[in-house]
Amino acid sequence: MKQIRHFLFTAIIVAVLTAGIGYWLQQVIARMPISAEASRQAVYIKSLLGQHFWAIAFLFALIVGVMVYSFIAFRQKKGELLDGDYIEGNTGLEILWTIVPLGVVIWFAFLGGQSLTFMEIQNDNPLRVNVTGRQWSWSFEYPEYGIITEELVLPEDSQTLLRLRSTDVIHSFWVPEFGPKQDLLPGGEVRELRVNPSESGEYTLACAELCGKQHALMLADVIVMPRGEFDAWVRAKIAENPCLDGDQVGCGEKLARDNGCLACHSVDGSQNVGPTWLGLFGREEALDDGTVVIADVEYIINSIREPAAQIVSGFQNVMPAAIGESLTDEDIEAIISYIETLQ
């Protein structure tokens, strides 16, 4: 009789705890970015996480519930030193609690595989965007339209195929509201990530892999808009390219932005990872080998083509060498014209 009472009370504790924790965890999920359901992928993640959380609630309640009940019912009274019941084990029970969790984890693995498959479903003709990450900025190239931007603009309700690469170290692409992450690898390796944005709105892309000093600040705006607006945006972007209408300075500024130079170089004289570009042209620059040079065209070209060759005193040699590789001589000329205007 007593036995049954013990089990009954324990069951009540476990049930109450499970319900309480489970309910609270559902509130937590509701506050998560994926609950905005801004992409199809987020929906799958959220649904599997919800199931995990119920399992967590139950298991935590089960173990803690039994423990708490034992502390109350089976505690040693003051001053006594009695032994408990002599029970060494129970093979049936032990097999049970090996087999049942085994079944449960296999079930979860199955669910995990299934949701992964759903997340990676490939649609025909996705919008391709080449994403480049570098210390510490992002740029987005839309190869079909020949535009490069600093913010990621995506049409609603169609699949985007992000083709990710890095020019220096490992970074990671993550828009919390979209759900999944994918690392960007250096050395020309391309990794793909598919997202199907489903809610117009503004989001933030954040780098999720430690990549040095300003990893925390490696952010970019993400804007999802209805198809029609997106098309209009594309047309406007194509039209406004300064490099096509012979605007050297504007083109230089755009190139500096698109290639991430401005992540390290300020144009207003403020301190940053690299020397400021304000007043750079013609300035006397002290190098860390003790010499002083005048920042003329040749020096600047050199600094971009071979950043490690001359290091400005007080700065570390962190400017990526690969960054200049994608720039043509004309590009660099344009950038220099832009730097010249920063006096």
């Binding site: 013990h6 506050r31 998560m32 970015p33 799958y44 993640i45 996480l49 995990h52 959380f53 967590i56 298991l59 935590f60 173990i63 423990m67 034992s70 502390f71 089976f74 505690r75 006594e80 030193l81 009695l82 032994d83 408990g84 019941d85 029970i87 084990g89 129970n90 609690w97 969790p101 085994l102 296999i106 979860f108 693995a109 995990g112 595989g113 992964l116 997340m119 220096d168 170290v169 490992i170 992450k181 994918q182 690898l185 250096p186 050395g187 390796e189 990794r191 892999e209 430690l210 990549c211 040095g212 000093k213 300003q214 990893h215 925390a216 600040l217 301190q271 860390d288 080998d289 040699n317």
Partner: protein, 632 residues
């Protein structure tokens, strides 16, 4: 200063001298070859890498020579013989000198662990303070820009992580070295000199890791992924990698020693299934330590070569593969997390029956589950790499293997609560820490499977959810059990009792503070907080949670201070401890407190089961020829 007359003091002086000599040698070579001695001016520039590395190696050897751990071996090499045991120094000095007594070595591991733990804790409190506000503005000293603060922040988290892990490895060494010979009735470990070596090599290793702080820091996290860590801008990586490499030697040699000791030196009658449960845990731990550790050593060495010689293992531009590093690294570092917890889970298994006065439920299953965890643990490493861009077909098999670990771990939990059920539970400090350990490790464990299923991990990876997960596993599987063990075996170690009230206060601060810290970490992670950022987006609206984490961190520090105070006053004027204050059946409690110098003056024989509490008239061991009373 008598400290400098001890092996520790001498070793450290030798290390500094050796280090300088090593550096000077490289400068000499450069000079001889006609290269500029200081390229681009100064000792902390990348050009000084080779000299720092060589200095580090020579310094480590000099440290070992200075302490004298190598002396016996060097004599053997010359064909001389040495006595089996050396006389230990009197009083406190024996803890700072080379000893071959496993009990002293265990305590040496123990205090070193706590020192490193405190240092790493101070680093945590430092960067936690910065996280009180979203912007990087608190750790501002004159002349540093926000970007310098972020850089410093990265160094702090990296060293916090790595030093904490070093502290864990040391603490694991403390428990295993102190306890295994006592529990199996051996005089000492199988290889006492190797045992001493395994301890002492940690010290120069830890010194090297900390040196990184002064060489520009390290900014790639404890995981040190290249190409970030192979970027020459930060010299600190070299001493960081080298230091960890030295610490690795400790795990390898220590692991071998433990296995031989357990397999060959058990008391008469102690078949494998009559060993105390902690010994099973130690065996499983050692299996991981002596194999997997080689791979973290190799992975770090390859990055060092890449930096030193311009090799290209992980340099993608030259055909290298950064993801390969992650495979090599996690092949050790996942199994390593089971190194952190298995001894702790062993302590739980050891103490629960004592304080519930009831046999350990399902002894065999618990014993084998340790081995099961260790073995499955070798096949799950890539779950840290679901987003890494490794071949994507690898993800599903690693998801299955990862989730399988839950099965043997679950067996432990179910057996523990079944041990409590219908026991007679009392709540002294060691038991409180055991209870804390179980619930906290549970929290850490059940937050593992969501990381294990690929699709959810793609969201959770590199968020504070993972940070919460691993703090819970490490506190529950290591920190709490370590404190339980310290309180429980304190009488055997020191011959004195600690203050029970202070012990309870320690627990009642640390336990809730830890829940606050860990659960808040998990929540910020779910709400979008990334790892390793010194500045977070205001829009996430998580500042309140961050403040809670920081406050909880300081509360934990306070509880540690109370513990240290308790330890100090107990050593000074603690009450003399009884031989068997817990009424335990375990062999070490059947002899005097503190433990006699040579453990068991009379060897014992195993005549029963280790945990038969409640079986009238039974006992676990019987001393050979005397009438010494066995357990009640």
């Amino acid at each position: 200063m008598s400290f400098f007359k001890t092996a520790m003091g001498r070793g450290l002086i030798y290390q500094v001298i050796g280090h300088i000599a090593g550096m000077a040698f490289i400068f000499g070579v450069r000079f001889g070859l006609g290269l500029p001695v200081f390229e681009r001016g100064g000792l902390v520039t990348p050009a000084a890498e080779a000299s720092w590395v060589f200095g580090g190696v020579v310094g480590t050897l000099a440290f070992l020579k200075g302490t004298g751990v190598l002396d016996d071996w060097l004599k053997w090499w010359r064909g001389l013989s040495t006595p089996d045991h050396h006389e230990d120094k009197p009083g406190w000095q024996k803890y700072f000198n080379v000893s071959m007594d496993h009990k002293i070595i265990g305590i040496q591991y123990g205090y070193t662990s706590i020192l490193v733990f405190i240092l790493a804790g101070i680093f945590a409190l430092t960067f936690r303070t910065e996280l009180l506000t979203p912007a990087a503005d608190i750790l501002k000293v004159t002349g540093n820009t926000p970007s310098d603060i972020l850089d410093f922040f990265n160094t702090m988290i990296s060293l916090h992580g790595m030093l904490m892990i070093a502290a864990i490895l040391l603490g694991v060494g403390a428990m295993i070295n102190y306890l295994v010979p006592l529990l199996i009735g051996a005089q000492d470990m199988a290889f006492p000199r190797l045992n001493a070596f395994a301890y002492w090599i940690n010290v120069p290793g830890a010194v090297l890791v900390v040196t990184a702080l002064f060489l520009g820091g390290v900014d790639a996290g404890w995981t040190g992924y290249p190409p970030l860590s192979s970027n020459l801008a930060k010299l600190g990586f070299q001493t960081f990698f080298l230091g960890v490499y030295m610490i690795g030697f400790s795990s390898i040699t220590g692991g071998i020693n433990v296995i031989v000791t357990i397999l060959r030196m058990r008391a008469k009658g102690m078949s494998l299934f009559k060993m105390p449960i902690f010994v099973w845990a130690a065996l499983a731990t050692a299996i991981i330590q002596f194999t997997a550790t080689q791979l973290i050593g190799l992975s770090f060495q390859l990055v060092m070569f890449q930096r030193l010689f311009g090799m290209n293992f992980f340099n993608a531009a030259q055909g290298g593969n950064p993801v390969l590093f992650q495979h090599l690294f996690w092949f050790y570092s996942h199994p390593a997390v089971y190194v952190f917890i298995l001894p702790g889970l062993g302590v739980i298994g050891e103490l629960l029956p004592v304080f519930s006065r009831k046999p350990l439920f399902g002894y065999k299953f618990v014993a084998l589950s340790s081995i099961g965890i260790a073995l499955i643990g070798f096949f799950v490493w890539a779950h840290h790499m679901f987003t890494s861009g490794m071949a994507s077909y690898l993800r599903v098999p690693f998801m299955y293997s990862t989730l399988l670990v839950a099965v043997p771990t679950g067996v432990k939990f179910f057996s523990w609560v079944a041990t409590l059920w219908r026991g007679r539970i009392s709540f002294q400090t060691p038991m409180l820490f055991v209870i804390g350990a179980i619930t906290i490790f549970l929290l850490g464990g059940i937050t593992g499977p969501p990381n294990g299923t690929v699709s959810t991990d793609l969201y959770l990876h590199d968020t504070y959810w993972v940070v919460g997960h691993f703090h819970a596993t490490m506190f529950g599987g290591f920190v709490f059990p370590l404190f339980a063990a310290i309180y429980y075996w304190w009488p055997k170690m020191t011959g004195r009792q600690y203050n029970e009230t202070l012990g309870k206060i320690h627990f009642w601060i640390m336990f809730p503070a830890f829940y606050l810290q860990s659960v808040s970490q998990m929540l910020t992670g779910l709400y979008g907080m990334r790892r390793r950022i010194g500045e977070y987006e205001v829009a996430l609206d998580i500042q309140d949670l961050h403040i809670l984490i920081t406050v909880a961190g300081f509360a934990i520090a306070l509880s540690v201070v109370i513990f240290i105070y308790n330890a100090v006053i107990s050593l000074r004027r603690g009450e003399k401890a009884a031989d068997n204050p817990w009424h335990s059946r375990s062999p070490e409690f059947q002899v005097a407190s503190p433990m006699p110098v040579h453990n068991y003056d009379v060897p014992f024989e195993v005549v029963g089961e280790p945990y038969d509490y409640g079986l009238a008239g039974s006992s676990y061991i019987k001393f050979a020829s005397t009438t010494a009373p066995a357990a009640d």
